[in-house]
């Protein structure tokens, strides 16, 4: 059964009083819970948050399922998100994603056998002038070539 750590509870409580209404704390709390649950969220997490926040679980679940940054499936240690929107597509973003999948021997949206990587294709990340690009966890890697991407991923243990 998923339980929030006391540190996470403290953070959630401070978010609950940070905004005009406690509902505004749902998104920040989902972030906190996601990082406590190895990068993804399931029903157990939703129910735990509902209990802590005193907000109906359906409301929290609606928010969780609406936003793409909350993962509905387990992800690898490194979540490689390759932009496939128009500016990147023009500059080879989709080919880059295909290259990375081949390199890591994994399908889009799936986790590598060693649980290190998940590769996803995502919509515009606001880095169109430095296309193609990818985001790995919190960091942007821009103006990539397939070779540069390969080297970067090799450095991620």
């Amino acid at each position: 059964m998923f339980e929030l750590s006391s540190e996470a509870l403290k953070k959630i409580n401070s978010e609950l009083s940070r905004y005009e209404t406690k509902e505004s704390a749902i998104i920040p709390s989902l972030y906190i819970a996601q990082s406590e649950n190895s990068g993804w969220i399931n029903t157990e997490v939703i129910l735990a948050l509902s209990k802590v926040m005193q907000i109906p679980e359906s409301r929290i679940n609606e928010v969780f399922k609406f936003y793409t940054m909350f993962n509905q499936k387990p992800v690898g240690k490194y979540h490689v998100q390759v932009c496939a929107n128009i500016s990147c597509a023009l500059e080879g973003g989709r080919e880059l994603a295909a290259h990375i999948c081949k390199e890591l021997n994994v399908k889009l949206g799936e986790v590598t056998a060693d649980k290190r990587f998940t590769v996803s294709r995502v919509e515009c990340l606001g880095s169109c002038g430095t296309a193609p690009m990818m985001q790995v966890n919190d960091r942007y890697y821009e103006s990539l070539t397939p070779e540069a991407a390969t080297n970067l991923l090799r450095g991620m243990k």
Binding site: T43, I46, L47, P56, E57, S58, R59, N61, E62, K65, F66
Partner: protein, 533 residues
Amino acid sequence: MPKCTINGRSIEVKEGTTIMEAFYQQDASIAHYCYHPGLSIAGVCRLCIVDIEGNPRPQIACNTKIMEGMKITNQSAGIKEGVKWVLDFHLINHPLDCPICDQAGECGLQEQYMEYGKYSPEMAERKVKKRKVVDLGPTVVLDSERCILCARCTRFTEEVTKTEELGLFNRGDRTEVGCVEGKQLDNKYSLNTVDICPVGALTSKDFRFRQRVWYLKDADTICTGCSTGCNVKTYFNKEGFFRVKPVYNEKVNGHWMCDEGRDIYKFVNLEHRQLKASIRTGSETFETSAGDATKKFSSFLKQLKSSETAVVLTGQYTVEEYQALVKSLKKSAGHFFHWNQNEVTEKAFDGLLLRGDKNPNTAGLRQVLEENKVGSDWKELETGLKDKKIKTLIVAGPENKTVFLDLANKLTLFSQAENLVWLSAAKLDQAVSGPKNFWHIPLKTFVEKSGTFVNAKGLAQKFSKVTTVLSEALTLSDVAALLTGDEALMVAEAKSEIAEAKIPLLADLHKRPDQVELERRKKNEFLYKRGAL
């Protein structure tokens, strides 16, 4: 009071009236799904588009307030074409499973498509797959593919019951209604979501697959499930009654009713009914007709002392029946008792509709007893039976046994009498062996008679007979007439302050139409129209 024109007709409306409300008031037809007068405005189905002169874009009628001088139309070519397309957008991912869908025949999608549709679908791609036969809870089943995401049910659980079990999860055309995994749609009003669902996405576990709706007739009456007196529509055919739905009454129940009330059709059906009168004298038991049994008791009654005879009444009958029975037995019965099965919880109220008093007419019974200056304390009955001072009991028992949790105890109590007359529509589960003589005379249920109920708020509501289920059953008025031989009492309208007051018949009360039912159209009208196409 702004003035405007709707499809060329000038009208004046109250300040703040929306175009949708004005269409309703005018009885003008307008396509829509998500709008429901009992819920907040969602404005998402985009079907109720209208042209307003001077406005470059079509506006939605449900969220646009009427301003002075507005010229509104939904008859322009652009709007008609637009509505056709919005209907097609609704349908591209909607399964064509009408033949096996419970909503067929009363489906908003079907009806509106017949009236406004394009008739030439152009969708050639695969439909979005979603969950089917999802068990949402004890009462409701969901078919997500049929759902058109009008958000009526989610608004209902958010705004009316405030239980918030339902949500719309995911986004775009992947959006699905539902509960969080492991949670259920479980509240006392859950079946209203089935009523307001304009398609067959939410269906009632109790009703699904039992009847095609075009084989059902319907008629309005009052719910007898508690003392709120919700206005309801009952659905039936020659096989019996199948369901109950709420009918709008601003003063009583608004648009809704509770789930408990939905079950009141069950005890009406023959399998739960006492079909024949049964008489037991000593050890000899025989069956006869209700009228004959009553007449037989009538001659028996003449030999009895009035001080040793008592009448027990439950709050399940009409004012007219109480009046007739009390008047006819006033001389031959010395005591009248009110059997109040839920004295303790009587005043309970959940704030919405559900009341602790599970009788439709407790207030009416009290008024009749008061008017006739009869009515004794329940203690007197208990001691009277114990001391054998009361030897004969005439009991108008419950027709809805399920809400009389003390029925078995009370029957034991009543069985101390020497002679027991049990007047009730319901079949008894146990044999009554205590009294020396026992009569069970079958009565009519609430759907088989006209009359008046007075609800907990003191509002008297007059309703008409729906249909006949068991022709030989009697009303209490019939019983009264047979007991005294006074034919005048046979007429259900016995003299009574309440019964004489000018109360409009329920069926004549103003009802706000809901698009799901589209009452203004006869059921076969669209078939007729199609034939003319």
